[in-house]
Each structure stands twice: as C-alpha cells, then as structure tokens.
Assembly symmetry: C2
Homo-oligomer: 343 residues x 2
Amino acid sequence: MVTRRLTQKDIARLAGVSQATVSFVLNGSPENANRIPPETRERVQKVIRETGYVADPVARRMVKGLNRILGVFTYEPAFPSAQADFFTPFLLGIEEAAQELGYDLLLLTGAGVKRRIFGDNVRLRLADGCIILGRQFDRDELTRLVAGDFPFVAVGRRDDAGGPVPYVGGGYVAATTALVDRAKALGHQRIAYVGLNEGAESTLDRWIGFEPALGGADLVHTQFAVAQPPGETLDALLAAGATCVFFTELADAIAVDAVARHRGISVPADLSIVVLGNHIRAEEHGRRFTSFSIPREAMGRAATQMLVRRVENDAPVEQVLLDCAIVEGDTLGPVSTKHIRNT
Amino acid sequence: MVTRRLTQKDIARLAGVSQATVSFVLNGSPENANRIPPETRERVQKVIRETGYVADPVARRMVKGLNRILGVFTYEPAFPSAQADFFTPFLLGIEEAAQELGYDLLLLTGAGVKRRIFGDNVRLRLADGCIILGRQFDRDELTRLVAGDFPFVAVGRRDDAGGPVPYVGGGYVAATTALVDRAKALGHQRIAYVGLNEGAESTLDRWIGFEPALGGADLVHTQFAVAQPPGETLDALLAAGATCVFFTELADAIAVDAVARHRGISVPADLSIVVLGNHIRAEEHGRRFTSFSIPREAMGRAATQMLVRRVENDAPVEQVLLDCAIVEGDTLGPVSTKHIRNT
DNA sequence: TGACTGTGCTAATACGTATTACTAGCGTAG
DNA sequence: CTACGCTAGTAATACGTATTAGCACAGTCA
C-alpha cells in the first residue's frame, strides 16, 4: 500500500508526546498507568481514535513472545470435500475451544505440495503452539517436534517418538474390545477381521483391541487389506464360516453389505457386521452399522485446551484417550441356529 | 517453555561466526551469497542442521513487512455444522488459492462473542491482508476498512461504503433475471415472490434482478418475509392465482413444496417453483429445484487471488461478479391449460 | 612502495512495540 | 537551604532478523 502504516511514533508526534507515552496509554501496567494524567491520556486517545491506529501485533509479539495464535497443521488440505467430512468435526471443536480461550487459528495445510513443518520458510512459528491433525504423519518430524521446544499436541494417539508425544486420541482399543465382547455375548465364535493391522496408530489400535479380546473365539478369516473387491471378500468370509465380521473401513463394510444384500444374504441374520469407527453422515447409506462413534469434536476441544495449558503454563506432556460410545446399529445380531448347527 | 528458543546469535556462537553471517547463509541475496565461501557456509549449515534451528517468522516479518499470511474474517463462526455447509465451499477455494500462491490462512472467526475487526486486541493485522466472509457485515467497519490502508477483499457484492468495496460476488441479478425470463417463456404471467427485499446486498440482488424482469407479467403476490408457516404461504399463493413462485430461501421452498405435495397439488404441473440460489447437498431433499448455482469455490479462489494482487502489487480496487449457472431442476414447467383457462 | 581491488567477514542499524531506567521540575519536610 | 519524594513524563534498550556499510587482510599493479 502506498501509505505507510501508522506507528506509535506517528501518534506520539501528533499528540506531542513520546512513543513511550503512547505505549503507556495503550497498555500500561496498573502501577505505571497512573503515571499518565487524564489530560495527556485523553489527548493521546483522541489521536488514536481519529487515526484508527492499532498496534502492530507482529512487533508486539516480538516483545512479548506470545501471539495468542494456535497453528493447525495438516498434511492433507483441510477443506477439499473428500477430506472435509473428516477434518470438519475436529476443526469445529478446535475453533470453539480456541475462541473460548481467546486464541486465533493459523491454518497450515499441505495441498499437493509436500509440506513440511521443518522447511525453509516455516511460518508455523508464528503461532504459539500447534495442533497436529491428520492420519499420516512423518515420523522424523514428530521426533524433531518432541525433541524441540515448540509446544504441540497431536489429535490421535501417537507412539513414542524419541519421547512421549502429547496427544488426545480416541479410545479405539477399548471400544473395539467392547464390540468383540458384545459379539461373543451374542454367541459368535467364528469371527473375521477385514482391515489393516499395521501403519498408523489409529489403524493399529483396532487390531490391538480386537485380537486379544477374541479369547476363546475363533478368528476364522483375516484380510489385512482394504478396498478389495467386495464379492471376493464376501466369498472368503462365507467359505470360512464366519458369523461375524469386523471391518476397520466403513467403505468396505458398505460394499460387502451391498453385495450380501444382492445375493440374498441377510445382515445380521446370516452374517453380522461390525465397523470399528464411524463416519459423519454414515446415515446416508441407509444402514446403521453397529460400530463405535469417534468423538471428533470433543477431541478437537480437548487437544486445544491441552495445547493452551502447555503454551501458557508449560504443562507436562499429557496423553488422553476419549471414550468412543458404542453405536448399537442394526448389523450385529445373535448367531442364527442355522449357523450353530453348521458349526 | 523452559528452554529458550534458538536464535541466529546462538548458531553464530556455535559456528564461530557472526549473526550476520548466519543470516547470509540462510538467505543471502545472489550478490551477497557468494561472499561466504563454501567451507564457512557448510560449517554454519552443519550447526543449523544439528540444532534444528528455524528463523523466527515474527522477527522476519518485522524486517520484511510481509508475512505471507491472509486473514479470513467471519462474523459468524465458520465451522459449527449449521454454518459449515455455507462456509466450507468458500474456504475450500480460499485454501486452494492461498496454497498455490504460497500463503497461509489466519482464521478469525466470531463465535458467540461479537467480534469486531477494529477492537482492542486486533490480531488481524498479523495477516498481510484479509478476506471478509459472511452475510452480515457491520457497515461502519466496512467504511473504516475502505478508508484504511489494510488490503482486503469481500466475498459477496457490497455497496459502496465511503468508496468502492473490492469484492468477488455472484451474479445473482443476472441469474435471477434469466430465471424470470425462462418462466415467462414457459407462459407464466402470474408470478409470486417470497423472500426479503431488503437487507444484505446478496438478498437485495435477487429482488433487483427479479422485479424489473417481470415486464408484462403480473406480480400477483409478494411476501417480503421468510420462514413463515408454509401452509399459509401456499394458501396465499393459490388465492392469488399464482402459477409460478420465486423463493429466495431454499428452506421456504422445501416447506411449501412439502405442503403442496401433501395437499395433492402437483409441482410443477399446478405450481412452478423457482429458488434463487442453491445450497450444498440440496439433493438430499429428493427434489431438484429449478434455481441457479452459486460458484462458491470459484468465488473463494478469485477473492484470494484478488487479495494477493492487492497485497503484492498494490492493485487497484476490482469488483467482479462470477456467473451463476442455471440449474434446470424439475420444478419449473409450462403453465397448465387449467390455469390458462382459469385466468 | 603505495594505491587499488577483491575477499571474507563483522559492526551497526532498522523494523515497531513494551518496559525499565532515568530526569527535570517542583513541592515540602527537616 | 538542603534533601527527599513525587509527578509527568522521556530516553534507552530488548526482542530476532535482514541488510547496508565498513574493516582487515591479501594480492596486484604501477
């Protein structure tokens, strides 16, 4: 812009005082505030009102060290519609909590270009701390974050990375275990698992909650892969004599359910389906899968509050898992007598 | 945090050089860059690598004056689900364009608390410029923005506020006119209008496009109010002998359409419905209303690009209206002979 | 030998604000 | 009348970086 920004020096000149006086008028601490008599104070404030001057937050931050800004870092872009349903609930909670605590949000997303926290022109540090969002996360960067002095909190559980990672995650392990127990209570002894059992912590947690919970039940089929042809998956499930199948991916469950319906296989009478997690607007598919609900909004809120604790009070690392409520749904039922006889 | 941040001074000490040398190694201009010989350069970079030092963007900004941050200001909170569908497409476009241009976004949203641009603790200025989003907008603040030197662009047309307001809006006037013309071409002569005819520019634009376009057609009923009981609205429409009704609010159209269906009144055979605008996920209502589509994502992109032009090149005020494509839909049909006889 | 030209750095400064240290002027207690 | 304290400010400095100006030294040319 052509006209340079107003500075306190300009205000001082116009009011016939020094820059320091202007600063005192603006934000003198109680003991210093009364050093400026009302007349001078009013004269300065008049100039400020007339000019519409506001202090440059950047310079302010230089002195104070804090900005009241929280960074939200995602590797994937936050808004494109494919991701929007995933990110939006988290952002909702983050925004609300930030608002309550008097912080603004700096969005740092990585669309297309691989964006890194430690890059050449890292603007992340403009924020007082940051929230890490997203499924993938570079291990090296996490390690550097843990080692560094920049406050951050991850949304989603993370394994240690050269030290404990502060996070707010979902209690997937416990929720998965609860669902397995429920299936067993309904008589299911021949259970299958379709989903990955390695990779991101959130994925792994399902398996960790699942496998030990089986107890006496038989794991008659596993498919450690997602997005496979649903017909083949269904074939394998039936061939193995599974009465109940756990999916980690809603999309897989939907596809297999559709094929089953098409073939006249009844869910849950012939085959029970459990989905380990939920997805916004899952109702659109006309099926309420038995699953657990991920408290995304609450996770965002909690992570934000935790981050502010770390920023303001240098609070120690916390690791929190929020409960995932079980969604009853319509796809987990008792084992049919047909199956019991079969087995 | 307990451990102070690393500064260039620390790096300089560790590498046995001066702070200026570190700065040159980091980002010396071409002519100065080769003043540092490879050995020294490597020595400094080694220390930087080992310590994980990154320059403080705040200090950087102090010197350079630019931040590569764009503020996004909304009076209403951006994420809460009620608003999410409204804001998300704009944010999508804004985020994409910002990413391409190498800017980050500072989200300044107003949840609950009345948030003002000119307040005590204005962090907006941290950004190099800002995008104004949202339906309501304080006139005084807009005037001050126009008068000031802070670059901004509004999403949505705005009337002059002590000067022209830079904006990227939707061509609601033209699109509304086109829909009126279409209705007239289908024989409609008895037309009604349900919606506000004052208030925000975006609302007003519908009326501005509508009223003059009527030409010879009769405006048999107007209801300058929204969210009224749909039964009463329908009664009034029928009593007035309207064959086609224009709604500014999708919600009103949905409600009236539902009552009509319930009463056995066929749309569009007995009554045509046109909606002036669209809404994400309108399909969920099982009806494709004849309307026009608002290019929200494109508006966000265009506004961002315009803002960057203003920030970087001090470009003059631009005012752009993007075309709104007509959505054919199923609710505008030819006038039935019954009506023609009736009239 | 003395002036000149690079080379390879460092010193100094600016950016805008907050804050600490100080000072000039004046009244008053001792 | 000196010392002290109070009032109403101002001067100076720090924050961390970018950048300009400049300095010490070596080599070159006349």
